[in-house]
Symmetry: C2
């Protein structure tokens, strides 16, 4: 996603091969992840020769939370039936647990791809300085 955020400004799509090579991910597997992201609307695809993937929105409009929820198969349902059989103990613990999740999500929500790209650039420049 970060690579695509960079390529977004250049308005040229990224190809699976490139992304896979850059991050040492098997390209066949990366293809599935990208399909999931596409179905969620986080990225768009261009088929055919010279095709590839592009962000679905501006880099500052995509949060880390959206990306993670997407590929981690966000299933926030199925709790309906268990609510009827849920014990009091489970309910009490679950409330605090969800409160904790909410706190974590707030952090991830605040973090956009643009933020991450900027931090990455800073880190990369620091690496160069250490090398000298």
């Amino acid at each position: 996603m970060l690579e695509m955020a960079d390529s977004y400004q250049r308005a040229e799509p990224m190809q699976i091969r490139q992304l896979a090579a850059l991050h040492n991910i098997p390209d066949r597997y990366l293809e599935q992840l990208l399909a999931t992201l596409r179905r969620a609307g986080l990225i768009r695809s261009q088929r055919g020769a010279k095709g590839g993937y592009l962000l679905g929105r501006e880099p500052w409009q995509i949060t880390l939370l959206e990306v993670i929820d997407c590929i981690e198969g966000l299933e926030a349902k199925a709790g309906e039936k268990s609510l009827t059989t849920e014990t009091v103990e489970r309910a009490v613990v679950r409330e605090t647990w969800q409160e904790a999740c909410q706190a974590a999500n707030t952090v991830l929500q605040r973090c956009t791809l643009k933020d991450l790209c900027e931090r990455r650039q800073i880190k990369q420049q620091l690496d160069v300085m250490y090398y000298i």
Copy 2:
């Protein structure tokens, strides 16, 4: 743990059979969980006949975070070697991720067994009122 927090005031140990029956957990499995909790010092055990388990500390001195970290096998190490091979991208994402974990942990840290017991009691009384 909540059951033991209640029994802690009565100063009598809880046995695996009782705990398992109360919460529909296979006792053989519960035994392993309790062993983990014991090794972490969260609970103490009394062997032999009339034995059982007791909290290792007062109910208000044990947080939900400790319990969860304990049974979820908190492995916060092993990141040493990967730090050397960690890419810049992973590092940037991991920082935000850990920040989110920290936020969640803060919530769980604030929640003690005593708090949960009190909330449970309130909920149970509400259930009774609904029943009438």
